[in-house]
Symmetry: C2
Subunit: 276 residues, 2 copies
């Protein structure tokens, strides 16, 4: 494969900026440009540090489209005032998507937050319903990202793709979709049926790998090819279900965070071509 | 509540011996007797160290019924000879159940073992089918224990209660049941419907708690009451679904393993009464 083919084949690859955690928005955007990438996935804490308008300008100057903004969500709360605060924060996240040109807000829906699990799930549904009109008016899509069940208590009471689709359908299936992250869903016995069911409603696709044994609960993700996930099979199913957007590489892992970032991007591109 | 009531109320409580990991079969059995327990859950590695006949005698001498033997399963393997070896090992586990008077063999079905996930799941189904006649002839029930999805790669490709019931039905629903362990299934959005579906086919019930954040992937279980699982609600559902057998407390946690074992048993009894 020559360089032009390789570049073309990584054309959908997006760096989720937490894969290079130490980098600022500027460093990440310039790194992506050096690596020939066209997409970047941003995080709100990083954007806040650089400034919203400045982050948008930096991405534009480096020829990058923002594939998604992480994260909205975190709806459950033990008190009504806190729930309203969380919903207000989601409105700000939607505005940030507009400013950054990101078509999608990733929803990490929130954990128990001291509530019973049924109540927490109801708060998620009500929270998404509350922000949906605001998102729709601004042309921002809401993507529910089911998180691995090991995060059910503290990050997302939405754990499975089918559960996310059920919730999207209860709210508005034409305007609420899902984010498929292989790390979170690879083990699901109903995965491929649910990906098919999600036709037209997949708003994002994330890749990494599941290491064996996992070195950590939160920071245990591996580079594609270092673990056991059938990434290519899942990618094929997601694309067969109509998704043609960017493919974000999102890895939380101390060893990768300790690598020189340009090397991380080179490795990511190589592994993407080999395993995704 | 007076002492006699309390003793009566812990009448279903069983010590899974890995909760007191340092203890031998004899130490655990004598500890259970001191604590007024009637049941113990044994592990094969511990039984092998003490000797099978000796372990059976010790339990009997201490007035204990063996609530279950852990573990059979581990069916997937990359080679046919290894698969046959694994099946032979399950036959030995069944014989050990007979000798120990345990009505149930707990099946931890096995991880990927280098196989594609669909193949690994097929090997589990074929493995259970292969040992079922042997188990039935000897009056030993096979209980599929779905393990938390974070163990899908290395311990069990059977992750959900519904998936376990599907598999049991494919093989023989009158002779293959499930083990419900709150730690593994509490997050399942379909949990209560699946418990109801499992009527008459629940062969064991395990309790512990989910700590937030989990201190470890493998050794992160907590004592009942220290985490977020709605244990009492799940217990009520399991009993409403016809299960009336022992309730095993199974905790893998370094802090608990470091405690004096008699204190662990006293705490377990107290927390069982308060939270289960």
């Amino acid at each position: 494969m020559n360089t032009i083919d390789a570049l073309d084949n990584v054309g959908l690859l997006s760096l989720n900026q937490y894969t290079t955690r130490r980098w600022s928005v500027r460093e990440a955007a310039e790194g992506c440009a050096r690596a020939g990438l066209r997409y970047i996935g941003l995080w709100r804490d990083k954007v806040a540090k650089t400034g919203l308008a400045e982050s948008a300008r930096i991405c534009k100057d480096n020829g990058l489209t923002v594939s998604s903004l992480c994260r909205g969500g975190m709806f459950p709360a033990a008190s009504e005032p806190q729930r309203r605060t969380n919903i207000d924060d989601n409105r700000r996240a939607i505005e940030e998507c507009v400013e950054l040109g990101s078509s999608t807000l990733v929803l990490v829906c929130g954990g128990l937050a001291g509530c019973a699990i049924d109540d927490a799930r109801r708060m998620v549904r009500e929270g998404i319903a509350a922000i949906l009109p605001y998102a729709s008016e601004r042309g921002v899509r809401l993507g529910i990202e089911p998180l691995h069940p090991m995060f059910a208590a503290d990050r997302s009471v939405i754990s499975m793709l089918g559960q996310a689709l059920d919730m999207a359908e209860e709210i508005d299936p034409s305007r609420v979709g899902v984010i498929v992250d292989v790390y979170h869903v690879w083990w699901d016995p109903d995965l491929f049926a649910q990906i098919e069911r999600a036709r037209g409603r997949i708003y994002g696709f994330h890749v990494s790998d599941w290491l064996v044994p996992p070195p950590d609960v939160l920071l245990g993700r591996g580079m594609m090819g270092d673990g056991v996930i059938e990434i290519r099979r899942i990618r094929a199913a997601v694309q067969a279900s109509g998704y043609s957007g960017p493919i974000e590489c999102e890895i939380f892992n101390r060893d990768i965070w300790a690598m020189p970032e340009d090397e991380v991007l080179a490795l990511m591109k190589q592994r993407y071509l080999e395993h995704c």
